[in-house]
Symmetry: C2
């Protein structure tokens, strides 16, 4: 009764708001920092000030998934981090495929930030005959026609789109057809995806374009 380790108390009973899910990785990140700083306990107050949000917000977010804290004390850093990682599915590694091996794709596959976070780029694809067959950062570049096959063989769950804008939608369609349910899109467009497929866009220009509003 005192150990609140039933991580899926409520999480599967009703849907957790998307915004909450997007905040959880932020909590994990701060917890990791705290942990490596040798702290054993953290309060919602401390978490909140670090992330510039109210303590109540954090407590409410966490309460969607269970009761992780101790009143009068706070949250056990290691325990909470472990719980959140499990909730997010970060207690394992995930395989990803990159499609588009131009300048951007090369930057992505050689970015050293993915692997330590448990994201493994295990296949690379392109359409151009000039690039297919080459080896880039240790990855043998395959034709996009091999996508479905590789997704199955290599247990790829995540697609990363780094093709030019005019091929992006068809690549995304191909990924969906291949059974990929999570897509990270670097192309500057708003793609159409069916229900059940999660998309995230990486779009620095879009970010800049909304900031200039506050500059005038």
């Amino acid at each position: 009764m005192t150990t609140p380790n039933n991580s899926d108390n409520l999480s599967s009973e009703f849907p957790v708001p998307e915004v909450v899910i997007q905040r959880l990785p932020l909590y994990v990140r701060v917890l990791t920092q705290y942990s490596s700083a040798g702290e054993e306990v953290i309060s919602s107050e401390q978490l909140g000030s670090r992330l510039q949000m109210t303590p109540a917000q954090i407590r409410k977010d966490l309460s969607y998934f269970g009761r992780f804290g101790k009143q009068g004390r706070g949250y056990d850093v290691a325990m909470l981090e472990r719980q959140l990682r499990e909730i997010l599915g970060l207690d394992r590694t995930w395989n990803a495929a990159v499609v588009g091996m131009g300048r951007l794709g090369r930057a992505v596959v050689s970015y050293p930030g993915f692997a330590p976070s448990g994201f493994n780029i295990s296949a690379a694809f392109d359409t151009s005959h000039d690039i297919v067959g080459k080896t880039i950062s240790g990855l043998h570049v395959q034709s996009i026609s091999q996508l479905t096959e590789s997704v199955k063989e290599l247990d790829i769950k995540i697609g990363i789109v780094t093709v030019p804008i005019d091929h992006a939608q068809e690549v995304i369609d191909a990924m969906v057809l291949a059974g990929i349910k999570s897509i990270l899109n670097y192309a500057p467009l708003s793609p159409q995806v069916p229900e059940g497929v999660t998309m995230r866009g990486i779009d620095p220009v879009l970010s800049l374009q909304s900031m200039t509003y506050y500059l005038r």
Copy 2:
């Protein structure tokens, strides 16, 4: 009376929700596509289906800034694009400074997507003595101590942070001190910034970490 060209009808009277501002660049993007496809008129219905949102949402968003459409007809593509660009401050070019000239910084300054959108990277900085003084993609890399001076001289309004995580906060502080009000941050942390400074984060790992929740 029939020409609703008073672009700041309401916009300055009360604050426009942040989410609305972030959607405006999406509208601009679709309008540009429509324009180059030769279309002269677009309805909120068409815009909405392209962006997977309801027509009413779009009409409401636009109504924060004025009345741009004609009932029974829709929106004049060229006119609406021009209006939205003006609202967002995209009817001019903006100068940006990149701090951090490692792998990521080099990728950013050589990314060909900024200039066509009116974002001009006009200065590059680093702390390392190995890099300061070099010329990368036509930019002479300066010491970070030159930041404030360059910001004034070159009319730099935007800062782009591409340093490793352990230097990111101090770089951001330096930018704020130099008078920069808009910061695009590529470092994987949630930085502390004072009121009045707008921050956007580019963080693919964070995006991946929230997608895996839906994969389990």
